[in-house]
């Protein structure tokens, strides 16, 4: 992927995806929003497994976010440094989630916990 950007960088810098591209991304975002809404009304938690509703909603949200970051925010054409910082932010948030939850999910019954 990396070499692709380096080549693309110079000539595609000004145009990016062009008007049709922007509207296509916009379309994906709108469809994603509507889909999120309707999927939430279906009881996936019973049909599939508990938490499935949230999982699907988050998957759609991640897809939408990726579209915005890559195309609206032009990261697709950017240097590796920008890719890295975009990923690093979410990676560090994941660290915060994971290491906080490793406490909450493994607490044994005691004074503070039922």
């Amino acid at each position: 992927m990396a070499e692709h950007h380096d080549i693309e960088h110079t000539e595609a810098h000004k145009e990016h995806i062009g008007l049709p591209g922007y509207f296509a991304v916009f379309g994906v975002l709108v469809v994603g929003t509507i889909l999120t809404y309707f999927v939430a009304t279906i009881d996936l938690d019973s049909i599939l497994f508990p938490g499935a509703n949230t999982l699907v909603a988050l998957l759609i949200a991640f897809t939408k976010m990726t579209c915005v970051i890559l195309f609206f925010m032009h990261v697709y054409w950017q240097s590796k440094m920008i890719w890295l910082s975009a990923v690093a932010g979410f990676f560090w948030m994941a660290i915060m989630f994971a290491y906080t939850m490793q406490d909450y999910l493994t607490r044994v019954t005691g004074t503070f916990n039922p």
Binding site: I95, M96, T111
Partner: protein
């Protein structure tokens, strides 16, 4: 025309975008806070001379140690090296005219001043008594102090730190002079870069944490109140997610200074450059994975405690790598014992003790015995004072001639460096024993059998206090009566020694082209220091 003589009006300082002037403004502000925090420390040590709570009653004592902590941590230790020395020398060391975002740099100083003033205002109104950690539910529900005002001050101050970090990251990425590759960067730059990463990744979390604390104090929703379903430990998680890495914000830049000093005053290329550079980054990254070691006895899950304990051992490795490499650099180097080097050697001794006792505290079983005793107080003072303050003072002495164009008295410099070292050990080593014997921290009174060691500690504090006052005097003295400094008093190869002292506003006549590695003592700059002294090039 130098950067100092480029305009004499107040406006030319307060609206300056010159990184060097902003660094001096930071130097003054940070020194004022250091003095204030030191006065609180003096009050603490005076109270602890006697076992009874006589000089200060418990309530005032709580306020005094809280304010000592808040001021020292947030307004001295965190900004000291990056905002003063980093601000001044990072652009010069990479061959740039300024930081990439000078206006943001000035903004960060103003934010620091606003946050600081707000905190000072709260202290004058009556202060806080929560401890610098603002633990819930005491801070949200019970404390009558000015928690909101101090919290807001710390919140605002956080953004000054974020902006400094942001500026450093951008500058290192885009402002390096031609030929200044990543692996030619002086290690001080690497250290500040790693610090900047921690600043932008960690500081926003403490900002939001303090915001939550403030909202809880106003609204009483109970998210930190276990009786209605909240969790006080959540506060600790969020707080330490920043505040453990904050320890690295304090110590990493200092390690950067030490790398400079050890290599330059051994007149030898540093041993294991890449290892030191990458260990800074490793510390910045792994430092985020260990915060739970502050919470072993607070109700955190035992299993989480094990993970955090293990990772704490892991994060000691990169620090140890640095220690080994510094030692290897000293080996067979032509070491000269100038004042900055005395501080650097002091750092190595004190940080070694501070770091190793950190491992004691990081092992869960021992921690149960030692936590919240004077052992922990001694440990983090060995890291914060023995590490950060020693590095800061070493750096200030090292670069003083460059910053001001004047030479300080080397005689008094050495005296004070030794006083600081002796006074520091006398103050804090007895506290290890006191803590091991079970003296809890944050109490104004203690059992009589512990008095002897406490007297040692207080006596040491006065020696330390003297050692820290002397530099203020002889450095100020040098500003007016000091000898004019040559461009390169120590005959060193770094970029900052190739420009006049003090530097011109634009730093370099023309953009330098770097063709040498860091710490390369070649023919023209690797002169024997003794020889140079004989030719009166260096009179320090």
């Amino acid at each position: 025309m130098t950067y100092i003589t480029n305009g004499f009006t107040l406006k030319s300082w307060l609206l300056t975008k010159d990184h060097k002037r902003i660094a001096l403004m930071y130097l003054i502000a940070v020194s004022v806070f250091f003095l204030l925090g030191g006065l609180y420390a003096a009050a603490i040590r005076l109270e602890l001379l006697t076992p009874q709570s006589d000089l200060l009653e418990s309530g005032s004592y709580n306020k005094v140690f809280t304010q000592h902590g808040v001021i020292m941590v947030f307004f001295f230790l965190i900004p000291a090296i990056p905002a003063v020395l980093g601000n001044f020398f990072l652009p010069i060391m990479i061959g740039a005219k300024d930081l990439a975002l000078p206006r943001i740099n000035l903004l960060s100083w103003y934010i620091y001043m606003i946050g600081g003033s707000l905190t000072l205002y709260a202290l004058m109104q009556g202060g806080v008594d929560t401890g610098w950690t603002f633990y819930t539910p005491y801070s949200t529900t019970f404390s009558n102090g000015y928690v909101m005002a101090v919290g807001l001050g710390v919140f605002i101050n956080g953004f000054s730190s974020i902006l400094t970090g942001l500026n450093f990251i951008v500058t290192v990425h885009t402002m390096r002079a031609p030929g200044m590759t990543w692996f030619r960067l002086p290690l001080f730059v690497w250290a500040n870069y790693a610090t900047a990463l921690v600043m932008i990744l960690g500081t926003p979390v403490v900002a939001i944490t303090i915001l939550l604390l403030a909202l809880e104090r106003v609204g009483h929703i109970g998210i930190f109140d276990p009786s209605i379903g909240g969790d006080p430990i959540l506060y600790q998680h969020l707080f330490w997610f920043y505040s453990h890495p904050a320890v690295y914000i304090m110590i990493l830049p200092s390690m950067g200074v030490i790398s400079e000093l050890i290599s330059n005053f051994s007149r030898k290329k540093i041993f294991g450059y890449e290892f030191i550079a990458f260990s800074s980054i490793a510390i910045a990254v792994f430092g985020f994975l260990v915060w739970g070691h502050h919470m072993f006895v607070s109700g955190q899950s035992m299993y989480a405690g094990m993970v955090f304990s293990f990772l704490t051992m892991v994060v000691a490795v990169p620090s140890a790598i640095k220690m080994f490499n510094w030692t290897a650099t000293l080996y067979k180097g032509s070491v000269s014992y100038d004042t900055p080097m005395l501080y650097a050697l002091g750092f190595m001794g004190l940080f070694l003790i501070g770091g190793l006792t950190g491992l004691f505290l990081g092992s869960m079983g021992l921690n149960v015995h030692l936590t919240d005793t004077y052992f922990i107080v001694a440990h983090f003072h060995y890291v914060m004072v023995g590490g950060t303050v020693m590095g800061y003072l070493g750096g200030i002495h090292y670069w003083w001639s460059k910053m001001t164009g004047k030479l300080y008295s080397e005689f008094w410099g050495k005296i004070s460096a030794m006083l600081v070292f002796v006074g520091f050990n006398l103050t804090f080593f007895p506290q290890f024993i006191l803590g091991y014997q079970g003296m809890p921290r944050r109490y104004a009174a203690y059992p009589e059998e512990l008095q002897v060691l406490n007297i040692f500690s207080s006596a040491g504090a006065s020696v330390l206090g003297l050692g820290l006052t002397l530099p203020v005097m002889y450095l100020t003295h040098s500003l007016i009566w000091g000898k004019k400094a040559p461009a390169n008093p120590w005959m060193l190869p770094g970029l900052e020694w190739r420009i006049p002292s003090p530097p011109p506003t634009e730093n370099f006549e023309s953009t330098p082209v770097v063709t040498w590695e860091a710490y390369e003592f070649g023919e023209e700059n690797g002169l024997d220091l003794d020889e140079a002294r004989k030719r009166d090039l260096a009179t320090v």
